[in-house]
Amino acid sequence: MVAKSKLVGLSGDFAVAEAVRQCDVDFIAAYPITPQTLIVERLSEFVNNGELNAAYVPVESEHSALSACVGAALTGARVFTATASQGLALMYEILYIASSLRTTIVMALANRALSAPINIHCSHDDAYAARDAGWIQLFAENVQEAYDLTIQAFKIAEDKNVLLPVIVNLDGFTLSHSLEGLYVFEDEEVPKFLPPKEPVNPIDPEHPITYGPLDFFDYYIEHKRQQAEAMKASVPHIKKVFEEFSEFSGRKYGPIKTVGMEDAEVAIMVLGSAAGTVRSIVRKLREKGEKVGALSLTLYRPFPEKELAELVKGVKVLAVMDRSYSFGSPGAQLFMDVAAALYNLRERPMIFNVVYGLGGRDLTPDHVIQVFEKAKKFAEAGEVEEREVWVGVRE
């Protein structure tokens, strides 16, 4: 039976805050940064009004925010923080420590472009900057998903087979500040999906543990190998949480969302809020008889490479869209992931990279059609004539 819920209107930030309240977190440390700030403003209201029994620590920087979260997580508390862009960059050092200490912190990342020039709107620079840091990363496409994935993030992080921190990405402004209708669970329903946290090896003076020791060449590489295995081994458990939540909510979740992939000859792959635009155009093109499909990743880290490989069988050309750029690299970040994931397949699509939407530039339906037309042209030509295509840019 699907959990009781009600239809409300909330921005992405407020929807995340509502999810965090319903997850009964114990500890929040955060520092204000647009476009994340509304999340923690709302959470501090909940705490100060007695609607959430949590410690809210208004730290003096994002570096301290994540540092405090690491300390709090070691006590066994359920811990949340939120940031964006420069704030994530300032946390960078501690991202690796949070995952390597196997903390179960959940972070909302309201995706925003990195400076310079300073810009408060959406790019995925911040999510990509964290891609190697050992955090599980989920991408929301709309406000409903931002809410749903926040609840699932705690369940994934705290699963004893996982024990890794989780980032929930929501596009800055496009989701963080846009009012959308969504179904919010009744408060009493959420604990049925997410029971209280059962801490693993928390700080306990009766059972002292040394957390964060010095680890040299005689052990470090084994510890990193264990961490690599933990990340790989988390995939089935993440999928199980998606399945349980799908049943709980009546809304379908999985690592990759698709349209038309059953017979697609060309396909477009994207992350975040642009997925809705891409899917709607793909549906229209399919109505005209075009064999086109769309893929969007809900699970970005660990990268769902096996699932992707299955889905792109029979695809001739795949356009991989990146809302960021990796200067000097052979393609932007998602493109490089896809290239690596598909390289050893006997049959694989040709791929090209589309750079779009930097600093909040809209991705219009026309841009998606341009991408489709390029892909179709490359498929007909039998080769990728341009590996890197920028859309929506004045040149």
Binding site: D26, F27, A29, N53, A54, A55, V57, P58, V59, E60, S61, H63, S64, A65, S67, A68, C69, V70, G71, A72, A73, L74, T75, G76, A77, V79, E93, I94, I97, I203, D204, P205, E206, P208, I209, T210, Y211, G212, P213, L214, D215, F216, Y219
Partner: protein, 311 residues
């Protein structure tokens, strides 16, 4: 402030040890003296947080640990923030799940306190977390090989403030950590020194009796970095006090008190000449710097004596 359990002799200290022998700190290092005494002074349950530094690297080389109580290291600049997170989390877990909240003590070096960690420390002091922050100040980045910090005293030679032909060692004075701490409106702050173990024990015990942040600034003579023989640690520490180069004082709820009133101070040279890091000051061309150090020592004493009402 009359905290319970203040002592008069070292014999009254509890026998319990929380730092196991076999750690890799240098012979003659004053940090373990601090850790052993401070942990005896703080009631159970308690936990320790350390930033990166000598104490951290020398006591936790995996798979070994010297710590008989929970110990947390996060990074270099964030010990106060990490401890603040632990404190606030335990406070809520105490309310929600009845878990007993431990006392939290931080042992940070001068680099992790005066320099890279000052922002996190300031934040934690301002927010009023219940923490005992103890800086073991060996007056340079000893762990990375004796580089100058803002706690390095005037005139000292380090590997990044060498005694050169043109610039003879560090040209800037030491930052006033206790003054900075007090400016946050905290209730208790003090200086301490390994040659005065009873004073150290009582100060930590007072700090532990305060609900809220407290700061203790401990002079931590370093044979390796200061260049004196390892059997001279306490002699050097004592001379720091007897020359007034290190003033033992405390601040309690708005009142200053000098704990060891040095009526007839020895010349500061007595303290400096035991240490290789000051050897260049005894060359005739650097006499002006020696004079400046003596003048600053006297000015600092007068400032504190006035605050303590004994001027």
């Amino acid at each position: 402030m009359s905290a319970p359990g203040l002592i008069k002799t070292v014999k009254e200290m509890p026998r319990e040890e929380y730092l196991a022998p076999g750690h890799r700190l240098c012979a003659g290092c004053a940090a373990p003296i601090l850790v052993r005494i401070a942990l005896k002074a703080i009631p159970d349950p308690k936990i320790v947080v350390c930033p990166t530094g000598c104490l951290e690297v020398a006591t936790t080389i995996f798979p070994y640990t010297s710590w008989k109580l929970p110990w947390v290291h996060n990074a270099f600049e964030n010990a106060a923030a990490t401890a603040a997170g632990i404190e606030a989390a335990f406070r809520i877990l105490e309310k929600k799940r009845g878990i007993k909240r431990p006392k939290i003590v931080i042992f940070g070096g001068d680099g992790g306190t005066f320099d890279i960690g000052i922002q996190a420390l300031s934040g934690a002091l301002e927010r009023g977390h219940d923490l005992i922050y103890i800086c073991y100040d060996n007056e340079a980045y000893m762990n990375t090989g004796i580089q100058r910090s803002s706690a390095t005293p005037l005139g000292a030679a380090t590997t990044t403030s060498p005694a050169g032909r043109v610039i003879p060692g560090k040209q800037e004075r030491k930052k006033d950590l206790v003054g900075i701490a007090i400016a946050h409106g905290i209730r208790y702050a003090a200086t301490a020194n390994p040659a005065y173990p009873v004073d150290l024990f009582n100060k930590v015990r007072k700090a532990a009796s305060v609900e809220g942040p407290t700061v203790i600034h401990y002079l931590c003579p370093c044979p390796t970095g200061w260049r004196f023989p390892p059997n001279k640690t306490l002699e050097v520490a004592k001379l720091a006090v007897q020359t007034r180069a290190w003033v033992l004082y405390e601040y309690e709820d708005g009142e200053y008190k000098i704990n060891v009133v040095v009526k007839e101070p020895k010349p500061v040279e007595e303290y400096l000449k035991l240490q290789g890091r000051f050897a260049h000051l005894f060359k005739p061309e650097n006499k002006w710097l020696l004079d400046r150090i003596q003048k600053e020592v006297e000015e600092n004493w007068s400032r504190l004596a006035k605050l303590a009402g004994i001027a």
